[in-house]
């Protein structure tokens, strides 16, 4: 196992640090793709999850949709979208969003459902409107779990966004795909390391966000 040598060689080669194929450029592209996909997936998953969770209706439909979306293979979807739509960002975004929606959707639904019913009933008894109940009672309590759904989605996106390189986009996958065709292990291993580091950074970020955003009362009780 001389993987470490590859990693070392990759990161100490100064030409890997600037230009259009430099690590900062590729990493930034990767982050952009990931953020974009996460934003779209959250825009779909969060409202639907909150609404179904709050009303308690549609749980079975939701579970079916999530299972179906999970069943779609990301790489296959990517190639299919390329064959149908041609080059561009859209063929990459579709598989990434399909990948990220189920965890966000399911966890958000679960999170709202699992909120203790007594404070909800109390709020209702006090005459709070349904949106206020959702956002001022249920969401704060459900926040840790909702964040964990977003976190899973983000990590899956970060490590899967590498496939963008197969249809000629940038991102850290570039090093892996180029390395495969150039038979350059240094690039493959270097690229994989960067993706893993980015995934772990994402984990850390979500941990920090959840420390900051979750109300201390909720944190104590869990």
């Amino acid at each position: 196992m001389n993987l470490l040598n590859f990693v070392n060689a990759f990161f100490s080669d100064s030409s890997h640090w600037h230009g259009y194929d430099g690590i900062p450029t590729r990493a930034w592209e990767h982050v952009q793709y990931s953020l974009m996909a996460l934003a779209v997936a959250a825009a779909i998953g969060l409202p639907v999850g909150l609404l179904t969770g709050h009303t308690g209706r549609g749980g079975n439909v939701l579970a079916f949709v999530a299972t179906a979306a999970r069943a779609l293979p990301s790489f296959g979807l990517l190639v299919l979208m390329f064959v149908l739509l041609g080059l561009g960002l859209l063929p990459v975004m579709i598989p990434l969003v399909v990948l990220a929606v189920p965890p966000i959707l399911v966890t958000t639904y679960e999170a709202v459902r699992s909120v203790d019913p007594s404070p909800v009933d109390a709020a209702r008894g006090m005459g709070m409107s349904e949106p206020r109940i959702l956002f001022q009672v249920e969401v704060p309590v459900a926040l840790p779990l909702i964040l964990s759904g977003l976190r899973s989605a983000a990590i899956q996106i970060v490590s899967t966004a590498t496939i963008a390189a197969y249809v000629s986009l940038g991102g850290l996958g570039r090093y892996i795909v180029d390395g495969l065709y150039q038979r350059n292990y240094e690039k493959v291993v270097g690229g994989a390391t960067l993706v893993a580091v980015l995934a772990l950074a994402t984990l850390t970020l979500f941990w920090a966000v959840s420390r900051a955003a979750v109300s201390p009362g909720v944190r104590r009780s869990t």
Partner: protein
């Protein structure tokens, strides 16, 4: 350079852990796959049965698969047992597999092969190309006769770019001298690191493009990118049927950067019987560029199966 230090420390744990996990699962999977090993059709997994069967491999693009079919069927017609290993990858991978005998026959292109083996060679004739390759070729490998059919890498521009910069069939790569800095170039990922690629374009023609977009080996990504003007120039194979369909303009290559690109079988010496050598040489004698272009269009535009196309051509050439 602090981030360098960071990444290498955080990845230090990783190989060790990976090794343990891999060793465990590898041992397990070895057990699983040998017990379920009724299928022995993977020529790369077990080399033992290779004595009498010739494994014909191909690179990861449509024409290579078609040529492998032609070679394989020609061998079968002479009573040689053949298995196929199509769509393996780029030359960087297939050459290694040929060298260790995992595959025995591979359709090659003489100029590209030479550029892979010797970055500096600029031969003037086909024979000189063959000689130069033989000088560098692994001793276990040999080239059979080259076919007159050529399929060169090329710098090809799309119709809009040709119009904008007044480029015609007579224009050369050198004519891009002043415009290259405004053009995006697309080609396979391996093109970036090859002499017959960005390196040669710079050293031979002094060209540096505005940007490089990694696509595929003259395949659908490249075709689509050029057509949609995502890139203005691209490495397209000269036998690509989309050139005439999309009115792409292939630029001349007076300095022979892309050299001769005759289709030529590269074989693992001890893996192919004499009658096989004769069969493949007979194929090369008949295969010219017009025929290859026609066969490529049948497969890539006509929706026909490469194997049927290969068989049809062999029959019409009296080799099937």
């Amino acid at each position: 350079m602090t981030s360098t230090a960071n990444t290498s420390t955080s990845s230090r744990r990783l190989p060790g852990a990976a090794a343990v996990a891999l060793a465990a699962t590898a041992a397990l999977l070895a057990g699983c796959s040998s017990s379920s090993g009724t299928k022995s059709d993977d020529p790369l997994a077990n080399d033992k049965a290779s004595g009498d069967t010739v494994v014909v491999g191909s690179n990861n693009f449509a024409e290579s698969i078609l040529l492998a079919d032609i070679y394989g069927e020609a061998l079968k017609a002479k009573g040689v047992k053949v298995t196929y290993k199509p769509n393996i990858g780029s030359r960087e991978t297939t050459y290694g597999l040929l060298k260790n005998g995992s595959i025995k026959v591979l359709p090659e292109y003489n100029g590209a092969l030479l550029a892979y083996l010797d970055k500096k060679a600029v031969p003037k004739t086909v024979a000189a190309t063959t000689a130069a390759i033989n000088a560098k070729l692994d001793s276990k490998l040999t080239l059979l006769d080259p076919a007159p059919a050529q399929d060169r890498d090329s710098i090809t521009v799309n119709a809009a770019t040709a119009k904008k910069y007044n480029l015609t069939e007579k224009s050369t790569i050198a004519d891009l001298k002043n415009t290259a800095k405004d053009l995006a170039l697309g080609a396979s990922p391996e093109f970036q690191a090859r002499q017959q690629g960005l390196l040669g374009l710079k050293s031979v023609y002094g060209l540096e493009f505005k940007s490089f977009k990694a696509l595929d080996a003259g395949g659908p990504l490249t075709q689509s990118a050029l057509q949609k003007d995502t890139v203005q120039a691209a490495d397209i194979f000269t036998t690509d049927p989309t050139i005439s369909k999309e009115k792409f303009v292939v630029l001349q290559d007076p300095k022979n950067l892309f050299g001769f690109e005759n289709v030529q079988p590269l074989v693992y010496k001890s893996g192919l019987p004499q009658k096989g050598v004769e069969a493949l040489n007979a194929v090369s004698a008949k295969l010219d560029t017009a025929a290859l272009l026609d066969l490529d269009s049948q497969v890539q535009l006509g929706n026909k199966d490469p194997l049927d196309v290969a068989k049809g051509w062999l029959k019409s050439a009296g080799l099937g």
